[in-house]
Subunit: 360 residues, 2 copies
């Protein structure tokens, strides 16, 4: 098969141009006689690759010098413990908003290290909306306020940045990062697993306001201590060098595409097309409050669940891959990350229309 349209929620599809460049450089990076994955992380060549990636990310996302950018390992799930270990400090509790499965995982892990105050939850509505922030039970003495701007499984996305006052705002931006412009200065800490809009899995990018460094609890594993990682330019130990390099290639590609504003425009258009089609075709449904529908992850159901298998089989045959919904919610899910071209969405809609016509 030639390249398919891969709607996987992560590890997600990557730009073909990036994969081609990685392919061409696989055995010999720019005449060095080595693959990037064979380079010492302390070599001039790799340090330049790493610094370039950080510089491009700062430029793309608008990250000022008030923030450290860390390239860590362990994915967003490791950050669920790393964050309370580093940010609780001498406070006893942190605020969390519960809007879905990823919020709940973050909350469960934080509870192991301190008191978690769930300021609001949309569980009553099966996580189909974002609780009105005027109702949030926040505390002025919270160590931080954590939320999940995009719930990858539920397909729910904030269309606003919560106002946390002087309490540091912490966000799991795994699925949001680089998909649309974000005012970084409103945040204390942002983290993002790479395997959505950044690169391959095995890397998590952490953007932390520098005044929040240096507060880790004494039992924090050294490899989870933000201050240590920042002081060592994310090379306290051997980092995930190849993933970092690929992230750098993705950043270059993003700049060529016009950066984050261009991506936001494309992403909004892709999502609108698909939601409009779903809303207009009675064979398909999406349960999310329209205001908070995710640009990145579009879950949908068929009018007849018993046709799910046939739908997926037909999709696979057309090179429309990984449309099965998360095992915890069922149905379908189309993830439309930056590297998913609009043509992929068009092909998906054409197939959905055909399937509804023939089987609906």
């Amino acid at each position: 098969m030639s390249r398919a349209f891969n709607f996987c929620a992560g590890p997600a599809t990557l730009p073909e141009a990036v994969l081609k460049q990685a392919q061409s450089e696989m055995l010999d990076w720019r005449g060095t006689g080595m693959s990037v994955m064979e380079m010492s992380h302390r070599s001039d060549e790799f340090v330049a690759i790493a610094e370039d990636a950080e510089k491009d990310l700062r430029e793309l996302a608008g990250i000022s010098d008030d923030y450290a950018v860390l390239f860590m390992q362990g994915g967003a799930s490791s950050q669920f413990s790393t964050i309370p270990l580093n940010l609780l400090g001498d406070k006893t509790s942190a605020d969390y908003v519960n809007t879905g499965i990823w919020s709940k995982k973050a909350i469960a892990e934080a509870r192991r290290y301190g008191e978690v105050n769930v300021v609001a939850s949309s569980e009553d509505s099966s996580f189909s909306t974002i609780p009105d922030p005027s109702t949030w039970n926040t505390r002025a003495d919270a160590a931080y306020l954590h939320y999940t701007p995009n719930e990858t499984i539920g397909g729910l996305e904030y269309d606003f940045i919560p106002d946390s006052g002087s309490v540091p705002l912490v966000a799991d931006m795994s699925s949001t990062m680089l998909s649309r412009p974000v005012e970084i200065n409103k945040f204390g800490l942002i983290y993002a697993g790479a395997q959505k809009n950044i690169g391959p899995s095995g890397l998590v990018v952490v953007i932390i306001r520098k005044d929040l460094l240096g507060k880790a609890r004494k039992e924090t594993p050294t490899m989870m201590n933000y201050q240590v990682i920042a002081d060592n330019d994310s090379m306290y130990n051997t980092p995930a060098t190849y993933s970092w390099y690929l992230a750098g290639l993705v950043f270059k590609w993003l700049k060529e595409q016009g950066g984050v504003p261009a991506m936001a425009e494309l992403n909004a258009r892709k999502a609108r097309k698909l939601y409009d089609f779903i809303d207009q075709n009675e064979f398909y449904a999406n349960p999310i409050d329209p205001r908070f529908r995710s640009w990145m992850n579009v879950p949908f159901t068929l009018a007849d669940d018993s046709l799910n298998g046939d739908f997926l089989k037909g999709a696979d045959a057309r090179g429309l891959l990984n449309l099965k919904g998360h095992r915890s919610v069922g149905g379908m899910r189309a993830s439309l990350y930056n590297a998913m071209p609009e043509a992929g969405v068009d092909a998906l809609i054409a197939y959905m229309a055909e399937f509804a016509r023939e089987r609906g």
Copy 2:
């Protein structure tokens, strides 16, 4: 430049055949229309890749069903805290042998979680030998006995497996794993950062006797809990999928080469050639007790340190790369991991002989 001989201590050189296969599969893995790095870690395709890698590793290293094999993130450095967090249990102290920089790092991190009893140290000899095990001050009630079979920076390697009695034996085999046969059954836990003989960085393989699972302290981050990782087949969260795939390719390559016994024969021969040359040429010196010289990492000095820069420049020009010693010890270091062909050692020796003749 065509492919160089890369003597880096890690990330280390990889087999050219492995890189070529990865290159050919980069955009489309076996007709799926996806790169492996774009695959869902829960897809049938990736699960098969992952299971295959584990099966091959078990076969290559002789790992029985009494052991779980975990593919984790964060490198060996993360294990320095993960091990005490998981294995101290209700014991108050653990035994550690100090034979060099990596031992010391492991000891420093373990001290943050409990009492560390340094049973022996060769620091007095500048870590040029292994302390006689009959002198080790081990404790029968230690939670475990930790040692570093190969000190990558010092170039010091045990030629025996310590007898820890009923105390679980724990080893940092980052540089030993798959370089020579090891009796796995003598160990409670083995860990190995991938970037030496396994694959790219960002992956650490942990081999743990199953009866040692389930003892993690309550403050252990979930992503560091061996029981959780084992229960989820190393997919509690998204693993480092591409590194895991590459490790699998390396394992297949190792099997084609004749497995670990064939590697051991080759590695012994490569190391002997280089040490013999160093010992016979008075321009070069290696400070390590001959009995405990590492097969994997061969540090050496020139009779005149002021020639180091010229030596490295000439080596680079011949495609003999990364011979500079670790910044903490200086001098030179040639790492001879599995993927370093004997021709590389021959080329290095030829250059060393020429340099000594012309400049010595």
